[in-house]
Amino acid sequence: MAEKQEGGFLRNGLFSRIEELKPSSVFLEMKGNTEVTIEGCKGILEYDSLLIRVSVGGAAITVNGRGLCIKCLSLSSVVICGVITSIEYEG
């Protein structure tokens, strides 16, 4: 006998499909050139004072600059601070 799924059809079926259908769930917010918040990150790929690469699912975002550091890190977002010179998106 199949177990009943918690949350029902709407949560487990429909909403998760809608999330997958979104073209990109990444959200970037910059404060001047000293702080950038990336929401929707999946992990840190590279961490250096001159470069920080963040995985955003099927793509990666590279933040270049000087004295870069991760100010705050959670499961879905990261706050990078330092002097940011460029941000690259690798699709």
Partner: protein, 416 residues
Amino acid sequence: MSILDITRFIRGYVEFEASGSFPERLINLSLRKGLNVYDTRGSGGTVKGRVPKSQFEALKRLGSRCGVDIRVIKTRGVPFIYMHNRRRSGLVAGALCFAVLCYFLTSFVWVIDVEPTSRVSEYEIRQALKDHGLHSGAWRDSLVPDTIERETMMQLGLFGWMSVNITGTVAKVTVSEKYSPEDTKGEEVRPCNIKAKKDGQIVKMDVKSGESIAKLGDAVTKGDLLVSGVVSTESGGDFLSPSIGSVYAETTVEKTVEQPMSYKQSLPSGNFTQRSMLEFLGIRLPLGLSYVPYESYTSQRERLNFISCGSVMPVDIYNEYCTEYKENDISLTKEEAHKSCLAALALYEAFHMQNCEIKKRELKGEIKNNTYVLTAKYTCVEDIGEISYIGVDEGSEDEAANEQGSGAQSESDTAN
């Protein structure tokens, strides 16, 4: 230092350096495992960061699983300090004693912040508070602010409102003076007469309200009615009114002062001693071995407070200056005795005749029984008016009524 930093310090943390082929993976994994890795810095293929002491072992296991070497750079926080010093029993005992002492000392009131008023000095308020248990070094739990407020107000009697707020080791006392009708004393509003309080001859009258009975040039004796509060109207009726005004009369005052020609007087011998005491916890401890070797001396005390951040600290230093006095036999000449009597008369004039205008002063000096007696006869002009109220509750009413003759009789009838 923020609250977060303090919390982290109390919990203790380890500063580590992760190196290997992919140290960033350690951060990703630790995040997924719920480890609190913070203050991360990446440079030269290594990642530095901090982790709470309780989570460091889990981080090490995670590092070995993903092939990252973890090296401890620094350990900080209370748990490490405790571990480092746990064998130093004296230090632990000292810290414990310090904590107990801090707790014990905060059970007392150390600072009393009093706001003085225009009528009552700060010293008087402090003394009254001390009488009711609030003083520097008082046991905080034994103090009941409501009782202290009530009893201090009753003792001093000049406060309309008082508040004692005990916060920590500081007692803040705020007072507000009582409203006194005398503050707004101006012209009388109750029916009254003005009577003479001295014998004299009237030289000036300034009557604003009431009916003048005495006239300029009249000679009056003590108790005579000068201005009546019973005023007659043109229609023949009477009404009561407050008597307001000043009646100036020329009076004579005689004053005698005496000065013995030889007497004994205590004078400073020139020797003095200073003693200092430290007061703390209500106990005075002498600072030094000096004592007072004199039989007769005067003592002058000076209290020095320590003030920190605007608050008076509960440690005082008392300096006591003792000056020796010795009895000397003094003999005066007639001139010296006369000068001494004149000085005494000057004081009398300054303190007892400040409201009089002295017109004439006659002096007569003589020696009687080895004492110089100086008699001064003053002729002066002064306000001899004295208010005497008219009313059913006042004892002076009947007297006032009797002295007013027929007019007063009708007034008395009205009052009754």
